[in-house]
Symmetry: C2
Subunit: 208 residues, 2 copies
Amino acid sequence: MTEGTVPDIVISRLPWYLQTLNTMAKEGLHTVSSNMLAERLGTTAAQIRKDLSFFGGFGKQGMGYSIYYLIEQLQKILNLDRIWQVVVVGAGDLGRALTHYQGFAARGIEIVLLFDVDPKVIGSQVGSVVVQHIDLLEEEVQSMGIKIAILTVPAEAAQLTADRLVQADVEAILNYAPVTLIVPEDVRVQHIDPVLNLQHLMYYLGDD
Amino acid sequence: MTEGTVPDIVISRLPWYLQTLNTMAKEGLHTVSSNMLAERLGTTAAQIRKDLSFFGGFGKQGMGYSIYYLIEQLQKILNLDRIWQVVVVGAGDLGRALTHYQGFAARGIEIVLLFDVDPKVIGSQVGSVVVQHIDLLEEEVQSMGIKIAILTVPAEAAQLTADRLVQADVEAILNYAPVTLIVPEDVRVQHIDPVLNLQHLMYYLGDD
DNA sequence: TAGATTGTTAATCGATTAACAATC
DNA sequence: TAGATTGTTAATCGATTAACAATC
C-alpha cells in the first residue's frame, strides 16, 4: 500500500504506540499482543492491528509482536532512524525550556539554531546553542537545510515569522503561538496551545 | 439538545473558534459569516454552522454572527465565564515557564499552587507563587477545591503523581509527561508531548 | 496438535459535506 | 423587495469495531 494513502489519523497514533513500546522494552518485555498494548494505551486491539496493517504484517499469529522488531519498524515508517535538526524561533521562557529539553536529544531531535529579536538575549548561551538575531534566520536555516521549526514567538509575530520560515524552505512547523497560521499546502503545521487544551477540559467540569 | 450528547470532537473545536473570534474582535470587526470564519481557520463553513447548532442558533440569516455575542455564548458553553484555579506539579524549566506564562492569566487561568520534590527549588518564588513540597499536595489542593492540574514531572513519577492528584479530587489533568496515564473514568486527561507532534510531522518529511 | 493471536474483510457507527428552505 | 446567510436535513464519506479464517 502506498504511504500517501494512509489516513493522517493513523499516522498520528504511531508515535503514541512507539512511546509505550519503548517503555515496555525498558521494562524488559520482549513480546506484546495487540490486546496487551491496547490495554496500556487505553485503546482497542482491533484499532492497533488495523493501523499496523497499513504498513504490513509485523506480528506472528498466536505469538503477538516482537517489541524490539516493532519499534524498529515504526521508527523506519516515521523516518526516525536518523537525527533531525530543528530550529527554535523565540528565545523566551518557553523557547529556552524547549531548547534544552532532555526529551528531545533522547529521541533524536537536535535543536541547532535559536533566534530572537531581543538584543538582551542575543548572544546568550542556551544549552549548547547561542541565541542569534532573527535577521539571520533565512540564511542560516537554508544553508543548514533545516526542515523543521518550533515557533515560540508572541502571537503578533507568529504569522510573519512563519512566512519567513517558509521562505527558508522549512516544511514542518510546530506552532506554540496562540494563532492559526496560514501556510502553503506543502507545509505541515501542528499547533500546541495549553490554553485550548484547558478550555476543552473546562467544558466537562461544569459548575464546580 | 442535552450537553452530554455533544460529540467531544465538536467541543474540542470551540476553543479554537473562540481564539480566532477574539482576534477578530481585537481587529475591530463586529460581524462575521461562517464563511469568513472558516477561511481564517482553514475549515469549512458547514462544519462551523453544524458545530454551533448543537448549542442553538447564534446567527442571523443574511447577516452572519455578531462576534461579540458569539464570544459571549462560547465562553458560557465552555464555562469560561469565571476564573479557574490550577495547580502545577513539577517546578522544572517547563513547570516554571508555564507558571508565569502570561497567556494563562489573560484567559482566566490562574496558577495558584506549584509543587516539587527538589529541596533546592522548594521555597523559591515563581511569578506570584512559592514552590511547596509535594507532600503538601493532597492537603492544599483539596482544601482549595482545585479541580485542574498541570503535570510536568519526569516520566517515572507521572503515574504516581496523577494518582495523588486523583486522591485530591482533581478532575482534569493536562499531562506534559511522556507517559499514557491511567485514571478513573470520571477524570479527564489531555496529553501534550512535543516529541509526538514532531514525530508525526517527520513522517511527511520523507527522506529530506 | 490445540490454543492463541494475527491480518483482513464486512458491518457498523459517527462525522463531514452538500444542499436548500427559512428568514433576516 | 432581493440578496445573503443561517440552521437543519439528507447524502456521503471515512473511521472504528466485530468477526473469523489463516497460521504460528
